[in-house]
Symmetry: C2
Subunit: 199 residues, 2 copies
DNA sequence: CGCGACGTTGATTTGCCTCAACGATTGTGG
DNA sequence: CCACAATCGTTGAGGCAAATCAACGTCGCG
């Protein structure tokens, strides 16, 4: 008798929200998953390593970020509970990543190897639809974010961030928000103390 | 007796490079395609319209761009021959687009309705794999571009652009390159006239 | 030919960064 | 439970990358 471990529940639910999986198919997916705990500030992946896993967040929150030549961090993505995170370039091409991924809170995560995903596409065809949908939606999000970074001021980008991720803001250090919208913590602090300009 | 119009050849080839399609399946896809010619500077989609089509470029070159509140254009994407282009947010959610799409050269394009795509996923399952792969790769590209825009200087971004799209540069007005990498045409001109700093 | 789009150049401005110093808060080990 | 260090946010002075505005030369094209 097979069963699905508790720590895979959230991930399976995420899939079932988008596509239909038989019990058997759920087992096949579940069989490829590895659960892991990650303490706050601990690195999962470091710049220079090849990232072989898609990462699903059960609880807590991760972030991916690059470090520029001056040592400054630039956050590409936050991944709270229920979200996936990965460096797609490294994952797809099996090349060394230029991103770091770490936990910003104590977290429980689920790892899925890219190799296993490619196999699962044959045994669980619906999974291909799931990841197509996910990729498309993620693509839409990154397109929008790039447009914003090209055409909006820092204050407007901050406003957008607050609107789009109101729940993330709670307990998130300001300097992470600054890094995400592409400004320094000092400048964000000054922005917030001023009499809130338009937008 | 069915056959595939010439103007669908390049698109079908693009699919066959990634997945296997039977003759019958090729016909099914081909049956949903609409070819169209677009003269230089002519708009295909305008800000505020809902974009219902994925667009494949047979020849020529298109661009997608937003216009900010000061009237400045910001180019999100170039699409030369063999590339797809669309505003994913508008396409997926059927909401008004914030992007314009126009031709920067006389072009021939092929249109594919989002509704037809969704139907084709049932009759041509391999198509789902094709678009999954495309979305993932596009996602990787946009992730990288966002990292670059967060962590690199204008000169470095220009260098990257030249490395990544050497063939695009030919005949492309400088102001479009400037808009793509997120600077003004004046500043790009000054950068290029100066004794080429590091990188 | 003449007009409009493009690139160039210079003077000036500005949005955001850098560096440095300083409280406040958190958390940690003794 | 306190003392101390580390982390975080704040504030100020000064600096720089890139924008703005304007003028001008050139080229391609109708």
């Amino acid at each position: 008798m097979l069963y699905t471990p508790m720590s895979h529940e959230l991930l399976i639910q995420s899939i079932l929200k988008r596509v239909v999986l038989s019990d058997k198919e759920q087992q096949l997916v579940s069989g490829c998953l590895k659960t892991k705990k990650l303490k706050k500030k601990n690195l999962l992946y470091q710049e220079g390593e090849v990232q072989h896993h898609l990462v699903f967040v059960n609880s807590g929150c991760l972030r991916s970020y690059s470090i520029d030549k001056n040592g400054a961090e630039h956050i590409l993505q936050f991944a709270p509970s229920g979200w996936w995170i990965a460096d797609m370039k490294s994952l797809l091409n099996a090349v060394p990543s230029s991103l770091n991924i770490d936990a910003i809170e104590d977290s429980e995560i689920v790892l899925l190897k890219q190799l296993d995903i490619d196999n699962l596409y044959h045994t669980v065809p619906a999974l291909e639809r799931y990841f197509r949908i996910l990729s498309e939606r993620s693509l839409a999000t990154f397109q929008q974010r790039l447009i914003d970074s090209l055409s909006l001021t820092a204050a407007e980008r901050y406003g957008n961030f607050c609107e789009r991720y109101p729940s993330l803001i709670q307990g998130l250090p300001q300097k992470y928000v600054a890094s995400y919208i592409g400004i320094t913590p000092e400048f964000l602090s000054k922005m917030l103390s001023q009499p809130m300009k338009k937008r």
